[in-house]
């Protein structure tokens, strides 16, 4: 068992990891920036250490500072959470070199899945369906992109080879748009990932985003824990996730689940991970990418399977074997997660400030993951995700009713949140019928101030 684990993150996921460690009897070290001096994760951890100024690159993404904190405070493991350094192969490798156990997959798996064209190639070879798209290592020149687009047929999606978070992503509907938007997307990729490598994929309209949770040990045993439907999203930001996906038949679930497990097995993946697919109307599905970390929405899988994914991630990192076979995984009821963002629900812009009153909802099947408390100041420097409300019930209809009740009960005074938007969505007849695709939220979109073209097919954590 690890003795002391450093949590290289903040906010809700840092709290989640600290709780798991308490149950496992592992002591915790929190790291924080000067902006997070009063953050809950700092108070909940057994020890805490300030590692830098507010800017993430100088604190939560500062590899030498985090490693120095871990070795100075005698930690033997590091959990990266999600975001920040969680999908940085160099960080995973630096941890191992410093004698620290990185709670996650091996560095080479992070790098492999981070190179999107390469991941596509490997998946295709393994018989996992991928979208028609650029072959080989990707494209850097406009004329290569033009040739690919012509072969695929418009519309196409431009993506960054080293991509993530929707950066460098554009939907293009004709050759003129490609000529205009390719350099833009490439510039964004260069800024965000220091890479000019792009690739194209056939753009499908009216698809759902359905992802499978993978759990794998270091002995190459892998299982899946069912799916999450994350189609309710906006500009690469997921808003509501649910499990099970309301339209998946048992047969299709088995087929997609097998493909997801194959994706993990073919590379010898270990720890927790998520295989993302696009699901088209006729039941065709396509691999888009694999996230090599715990996801924001892991909670809905925990609710329907009863498996604590964060504890499992720590156990897998310690070399423990999977305690379950695929057929032993049982799914119970329906779960939904509502992401609460500190933002103006009308204009969709961040709303930082002091939370003067925080009253989370409760009751049977209601779970709140948050780092909020009365008097907490939501800093301007980080992601606006301030809470996750997760409900669990026997049926989807009951989960919706429970979600509505809990959202109405939730009090967060002092700042604006997107709770009103969630309530609107829960009233929507299509949502209630389970009939939606990734463009669903465009009907609740405020007028865009600028004519930026955003891809509804997104990449959010």
């Amino acid at each position: 068992m690890f003795k002391k684990l450093l949590v290289a993150n903040r906010g809700t996921i840092a709290i989640r990891i600290i709780r798991a460690c308490r149950e496992l009897g592992i002591s915790t070290v929190a790291v924080y920036s000067t902006a997070d001096k009063n953050a809950l994760h700092v108070r909940m951890a057994d020890e805490s250490v300030c590692i830098g100024p507010p800017a993430a690159e100088d604190s939560y993404m500062n590899i030498p500072a985090i490693l120095s904190a871990a070795t100075t405070f005698g930690a033997d493991a590091v959990h990266p959470g999600y975001g920040f350094l969680s999908e940085n192969g160099d960080f995973a490798e630096a941890c191992q070199r410093s004698g620290l156990n990185f709670v996650g997959p091996r560095a080479r798996h992070i790098r492999l899945m981070g190179d999107k064209p390469r991941a596509r190639r490997i998946m295709k070879r393994a018989g996992v369906p991928v979208l028609p798209g650029s072959e080989g290592t990707g494209v850097t020149e406009l004329r290569e992109a033009q040739a690919d687009a012509k072969r695929l047929g418009y519309p196409v999606l431009i993506k960054a080879a080293a991509g993530g978070g929707g950066k460098g992503m554009r939907v293009v509907r004709d050759a003129a748009e490609l000529t205009r938007l390719f350099p833009q997307a490439q510039g964004e990729s260069e800024l965000s990932f220091n890479s000019r490598k792009m690739y194209l994929e056939k753009y499908l309209e009216r698809v759902r985003h359905v992802e499978f949770q993978i759990l794998a040990d270091l002995q190459r045993n892998a299982i899946h824990l069912g799916e999450r439907d994350c189609s309710i999203q906006r500009r690469h930001q997921k808003l509501i996730e649910e499990s099970p996906c309301p339209i998946l038949t048992p047969r299709l679930r088995e087929k997609m689940g097998k493909a997801a497990v194959r994706a993990a097995e073919v590379v010898g993946y270990s720890n927790v991970g998520t295989v993302e697919f696009l699901l088209a109307g006729g039941g065709e599905f396509y691999f888009i990418e694999m996230n090599t970390r715990i996801q924001v929405e892991h909670g809905v899988t925990e609710m329907v399977t009863g498996i604590d994914l964060v504890k499992e991630s720590i156990r897998m990192a310690m070399g423990e074997r999977l305690g379950l076979k695929q057929r032993q995984v049982k799914f119970d009821g329906a779960s939904m997660e509502f992401r609460i963002y500190a933002e103006d629900p009308e204009r969709h812009i961040p709303s930082p400030g002091v939370v003067t009153n925080h009253h989370p909802p409760g009751g049977l099947g209601v779970r709140v993951e948050t780092a909020l408390y009365d008097g907490y100041r939501v800093p301007v420097h980080y992601d606006p995700l301030i809470a996750k409300l997760i409900v669990h019930a026997e049926t989807r209809a009951e989960a919706i009713a429970r979600g509505k009740a809990a959202l109405r009960e939730y009090v967060i005074d002092g700042i604006k949140t997107n709770i009103p938007l969630h309530l609107k969505i829960l009233q929507d007849p299509d949502f209630n019928r389970g009939e939606f695709s990734t463009d669903f939220l465009s009907r609740y979109q405020p007028p865009q101030p600028e004519a930026v073209h955003h891809a509804p097919v997104s990449k959010a954590s």
């Binding site: 809950l40 108070r43 909940m44 830098g52």
Partner: protein
């Protein structure tokens, strides 16, 4: 930072406030604290300000520990108050004159006053320093990072303790600029 570390640091800071406090005197204080069941002791300079706290009266840290066991959310609220209180106190203690500069750690690591365990400290309280002269070392990832004096002057207080873990931004020393 665990509560006892903070308490330890506070004793050290308070002790340095008296002029040339000897280890003997410090020991006397510690014995007094034990005999009278004090959990906190603060001594200010020049006949001013004494703060003694008996074990019965709860310190902010104790409240936090109790609240921590009971409720993580309520605990956080109290701790913020406690932190702000401490912040105000600390600010009161590190009250800089216009010609004084506070040296803060630019990184997380371990504080050392000398280049090696058997070497003499870089500086003592009262030492004159040139601009750019090494004041101490912060060890991070087996790398020794010398912290240089930002100006010519005199070291008037060494706040951090040799061999202790240091956070980003933690006060290390005070320099009086000449």
């Amino acid at each position: 930072m665990p509560a006892n570390d903070q308490a330890r640091r506070r004793v050290a800071v308070a002790a340095r406030h008296g002029e040339q406090m000897e280890v003997r005197e410090l020991k006397t204080l510690l014995v007094l604290m034990r005999d009278y069941g004090l959990v906190e002791l603060e001594i200010e300079d020049k006949k001013g300000k004494v703060r003694l706290v008996r074990g019965g009266a709860r310190t902010p840290e104790d409240v936090t520990a109790a609240a921590r066991a009971a409720s993580p959310l309520k605990m956080a609220v109290r701790h913020v108050e406690a932190t702000e209180e401490e912040g105000a106190k600390a600010a009161g203690k590190i009250d800089l004159a216009p010609n004084q500069k506070l040296i803060e750690s630019p990184m997380v690591g371990t504080f050392y006053r000398a280049a090696s365990p058997d070497a003499a400290p870089f500086v003592e309280e009262g030492s004159s320093v040139r601009k750019g002269q090494p004041l101490c070392i912060i060890e991070a990832m087996k790398m020794m990072n010398e912290i240089e004096s930002p100006a010519a002057g005199r070291v008037i207080r060494i706040i951090a303790e040799n061999g202790n873990p240091i956070e980003y931004g933690q006060p290390l020393m005070i320099i009086e600029v000449i």
